[in-house]
């Protein structure tokens, strides 16, 4: 039945387009800007931090040396007792964490189990400064999509060299075959009288740690 429908829909489209000449189109003119900010490292980091904060993510700065310490502090602040991490979390990130039950991502870590876990800690694929967006693509240091979805607290580590200015800069760097989650601030709704409320189904708290050589 659907095979039939496929042919019919395609035939209807071709009939509908009877007025359109079959000539090749000239290449699309993309007159828009490749970026809206200057693309030096300090500016990109500052713009990203500002936009993340505006959407009520919590922004933290750290040097690579300070990173474990900052992660430890964020977990203590959130009173985290159980933490989900990807199997390939960079070594050392957890060196300042104590007294927390660790769960490593894998098929055994089901949604039901994750539902009882306090926090998740991951890296990211890249971040987009202009829009305040962090992109996860289940690549290195990120784990499966479910990992950063079910727990109520997500700590995401962004290296300075992962920050790009804009979507036109980001798209060519991303692999469409990987499942992607673009995150711009914590879960939110404005469905009730347009009052913004943070946190409906996704993590209600998003901590971003920006890692660079010289944090301000």
């Amino acid at each position: 039945m659907t095979t039939d429908s496929r042919e019919r829909v395609l035939a209807r489209i071709r009939t509908a387009l009877g007025d359109v000449p079959a000539t090749d189109e000239p290449p699309l003119r993309r007159g828009y800007l490749p970026a809206h900010v200057t693309e030096d490292r300090p500016t990109l980091l500052a713009v990203l931090a500002e936009n993340l904060a505006e959407y009520r993510a919590h922004v933290n700065h750290a040097t690579p040396q300070q990173l474990p310490e900052v992660i430890g502090r964020l977990l203590r602040e959130h009173d985290t007792r159980s933490l989900a991490v990807p199997a390939d979390l960079p070594p050392g990130w957890l060196s300042a964490v104590g007294g927390v039950r660790m769960l490593t991502d894998g098929p055994a870590l089901t949604a039901e189990r994750l539902d009882g876990i306090d926090s998740a800690l991951t890296g990211c694929a890249l971040a987009v400064a202009e829009t305040g967006t962090i992109v996860l693509d289940a690549g290195p240091g990120q784990g499966r999509r479910i990992l950063t979805l079910v727990p109520d607290h997500h700590i995401c580590v962004v290296r300075a060299d992962q920050v790009v200015a804009s979507l036109p800069r980001a798209l060519p760097l991303l692999d469409p075959t990987r499942p992607q989650t673009w995150i711009s601030g914590p879960s939110a709704t404005s469905d009730i009288e347009l009052d913004r409320v943070e946190g409906v189904h996704g993590p209600r708290r998003l901590d971003v740690v920006l890692v660079g050589e010289a944090p301000r």
């Binding site: 979805l149 601030g185 709704t189 347009l194 009052d195």
Partner: protein, 478 residues
């Protein structure tokens, strides 16, 4: 859900009822003005908005001109990535496909992400008739579903409900659908959101099948894109074993790179954000991560009819941002329900009659649910010339001949507008601001005589629409 748009009264009658509802009107005015102002700021941030808009329009037009090619490309890419593609000519067929897939899994319930396409085809009702319960998971859709109600706005479907009403609906209905509302629930939005979180979490954890729509379908890669705010979309797209996405054939875009245009245009036009909190993109299935079974249902349901109309086909560029609703003086007065379909406001006035045909009274009256002020065109991120299509559709209604019941409904709609001077004043102010954007000449050949002898639209405000309407209207009234 017992609510239905079928058998709805024609626009003027439904609008007359909603304009009398002071609560609804106050909610709508507050909401539309708030979003409208925020949108203007978000758009003003981008120096290249005009160029982005032009690119968005061009990409969609190019796609539509070779729609068969891009759909076949998308089908091949989705299939190669492990998905299964189905084609549906009409609503009933799409509903059948989804119901059969759910039943084949031995399931009796599905979780749903807000989707215009599934509302359009009445999927929830069709599934219910097969003994399958569809749980809406978007907060606003949940409010609508628990209230046994109909959505009234594309972006904020429960815009017609205030917090007190929402609390009452939660207290009264949640226990019938699953986890009851917490004891002592107040009307604070944070508490209401928390109640929804708890109510839906058990459903997310239990669900084996999810149904979604998609904002975009990338032909070259087979990737689907869903933008959202709450995380309910991520839950539905990630947790269940089976995912079924019902997607209108006009949602396809040619290349991965094209997303850089639409993901700039859509959030700013829609929620007035630089980016919405969550965007999910997936391509077929990924081993060990997310659903292991993915089905894409490509839906025609009147879109090829729309495509056949050289003037009207531009409506298929729509990315459902809802910016046109928020600037429309008629929507503000009439409310979303008056439009008798899931697509309210200016886009509904041109899309619904094209998808469904002009035969029913409500559909024939829709092209008249406008003052032609042009504000919708100005804000549209893909530059759909809504006034142009409205006038074009009015001509088609007129062609049915005097005395036709559809035409009588149309004239009543026009009269309703003339009886609402407040809507006019707003419209004229908007028109004065957007004058350079007004369509001056309608590029329409054919039987336009009933509505316009010269095919020139008057420039505003030298001659107001009201005056124009009176003269033109009389020519047509025997």
């Amino acid at each position: 859900m017992s609510g239905t748009y079928l058998g709805m009264p024609a626009f003027p009658k439904a609008a007359a009822v909603s304009t009398q509802n002071a609560q609804l009107r106050a909610n709508l005015t507050h909401a539309t003005h708030t979003i409208r102002d925020k949108r203007a700021k978000a758009v003003a941030e981008l120096a290249d908005w005009a160029e982005l808009r032009q690119a968005g329009k061009e990409i969609k037009d190019r796609t539509l001109r070779r729609l068969d090619h891009y759909l076949l490309q998308a089908e091949a890419a989705v299939t190669a990535a492990g998905g299964t593609v189905h084609w549906a000519q009409a609503a009933a067929e799409a509903n059948r496909i989804v119901a059969d897939l759910v039943k084949a899994k031995g399931e009796r319930e599905v979780v749903k992400v807000k989707s215009m396409a599934t509302q359009e085809i009445g999927l929830n009702e069709a599934l219910a008739a097969e003994g399958i319960t569809a749980y809406e998971t978007d907060l606003a859709e949940l409010i609508v579903q628990l209230g046994d109600d109909l959505p009234s706005h594309i972006l904020v479907p429960a815009i017609h409900r205030n917090r007190g009403e929402i609390r009452d609906i939660f207290r009264e209905a949640m226990s019938r659908w699953g986890r009851p509302a917490p004891e002592g629930l107040t009307d604070s939005p944070a508490e209401l959101a928390e109640a929804a979180r708890l109510h839906l979490r058990e459903k997310f954890l239990r669900a084996k099948v999810a149904v979604s729509g998609a904002n975009f379908l990338v032909a070259e890669t087979g990737s689907l894109v869903v933008v959202e705010s709450e995380g309910n979309g991520r839950m539905c797209l990630t947790l269940p074993e089976t995912l079924i996405s019902v997607v209108g054939i006009e949602k396809v875009v040619p290349t991965w790179r094209d997303l850089e245009v639409f993901l700039q245009l859509l959030p700013r036009s829609s929620t007035a954000e630089r980016m919405n909190p969550y965007t999910s993109i997936w391509t077929g299935t990924t081993r060990g991560d997310g659903p292991s079974d993915f089905h894409l249902v490509l839906l025609d349901n009147g879109r090829t009819d729309t495509l056949a109309d050289e003037v009207g086909r531009q409506a298929l560029r729509c990315i459902r941002c809802s910016a046109c609703l928020n600037v429309c003086p008629v929507y503000e007065r009439a409310g979303g329900h008056a439009y008798g379909s899931p697509y309210p406001g200016p886009i509904g006035a041109i899309l619904t009659p094209q998808l469904r045909g002009l035969t029913s009274e409500v559909d024939a009256s829709l092209p008249y649910a406008s003052t032609l002020c042009g504000a919708c065109y100005e804000v549209c991120p893909v530059a759909i010339d809504i006034p142009e299509v409205l006038v074009h559709l009015r001509e088609q209604v007129a062609e049915h001949g005097t005395g036709h019941r559809a035409e009588r409904a149309a004239i009543k709609a026009a009269t309703w507008l003339l009886d609402h001077p407040a809507a006019y004043r707003t419209a004229l102010r908007a028109a004065a601001r957007t004058r350079r954007l007004q369509p001056r000449r309608l590029p329409l050949p054919g039987p336009a005589k009933a509505w316009s002898d010269t095919r020139d639209l008057p420039t505003m405000p030298e001659q107001s629409f009201r005056d124009w309407w009176k003269t033109r209207g009389q020519e047509n009234t025997p």
